[in-house]
Symmetry: C2
Subunit: 224 residues, 2 copies
């Protein structure tokens, strides 16, 4: 192995657009697939081609965070996987709790992609007495009244909100009060959280509107 370590100095983390972070996750997945296929090195053009981006886009995105290529070699897949996981914060396990065990909640409990990327679902909450103290996909369901207690005891860092829209803000308030640092919200409502808490909203109709936009306008959406 070369002695030139990749730099992971961040040039300006405060100015990184969400779309770049989103693409880092996509690069990570492709690199993981390449590694699984036994490929040790790759290039910005190969990585870009597999995802429909230009090689310039790949290089520009990575340049936000340092220099990861090696002259004459390109990127070492395992090294770049490690670097991207450090950037994304998933070079360690995150303890996650789910609130709301309806169909979507069950789907989230069974979603293998979470575990694969370092997310460990350690608790779930619901109000349905028939569900409380049962396990789904190996995760124990607690009475939502115990949220603060269990978040603390299980050292939960991230919350998944999968309750109806009308309950989502209240649940978010409880998660924030209990000390979680980030929330992924599936309810079709915009949550208000303190600036110290990170949140991302997943609105499935919004995703579908991205599809209809490009169908209706007969163009490929530029994912930059």
């Amino acid at each position: 192995m070369s002695s030139s370590k990749p730099s992971s100095s961040r040039q300006d983390p405060g100015s990184v657009p969400a779309a770049v972070v989103n693409r880092l996750s996509m690069y990570l997945r492709e690199l993981q697939h390449l590694l699984a296929d036994g490929q040790e090195t790759t290039s910005s053009s190969q990585l870009g081609h597999r995802l429909g981006f230009t090689d310039a886009q790949v290089r520009k995105d990575l340049a936000h965070f340092g220099h990861f290529g090696h002259p004459g070699i390109g990127y070492r897949c395992d090294e770049l996987v490690g670097a991207i996981r450090r950037i994304l914060g998933t070079d360690r396990e995150w303890r996650v709790a789910l609130v709301g065990v309806g169909n979507l909640g069950r789907a989230l409990l069974g979603y293998r992609g979470f575990h694969r990327q370092g997310f460990r679902l350690v608790a779930a909450f619901d109000t349905d007495p028939a569900m409380i103290d049962t396990k789904i996909e190996g995760v124990l369901i607690y009475d939502i009244l115990r949220l603060a207690e269990i978040v603390s005891a299980e050292q939960v860092e991230l919350g998944l909100v999968a309750v109806p829209a009308s309950d989502a803000q209240d649940v978010a308030n409880q998660l924030v009060a209990a000390g979680v640092g980030g929330i992924l919200n599936f309810a079709p409502v915009t949550l208000t959280v303190p600036s110290t808490v990170s949140k991302v909203g997943v609105d499935l109709a919004r995703e579908l509107e991205q599809v209809t936009f490009s169908v209706a306008n007969r163009l490929k959406v530029d994912e930059s």
Copy 2:
């Protein structure tokens, strides 16, 4: 009402970034909430404030598609809702089929946000004989072997792929061959489709990585 109609001329639709389209959906939701609350007009600063964007961002995003404000009034909520729906292509109903009726598929069948935004789930497909010819949330489940036949008969335009990653490309190929114009993919794999077909991938771990990125880096992700 003023005689000045909002222009909906698109200045350069080919260059619209996905993030802008994403925010259009967010503006649309907020405008719908405002209308539901009985508010007839709004401003870029109010709209931005509710979503955590600057007023300049809101104006810049909308300027991609025309001029929608009125001097001294701001935006008329119903007018802007109509304009954004036309831009997104959701000023009409879209006929949608689901492939894969596991937990996630069931969650999608019950997801009210789709119906509310003009998406009509007209068919679902699975391989499980126990499920075929039953209805879930009012949607009939068909044998996946009948996909081409039903997509044609039901005039399905969009497909939701909620099958395991190993089956997703095959399902996408079948949907494309059957003539759908767009695909929303929930399987954690990058699909290859012809350039004439639109696709958006929903990777739930990727969404969660957006949260960990900003928690790990203790900063708010710039959603521009």
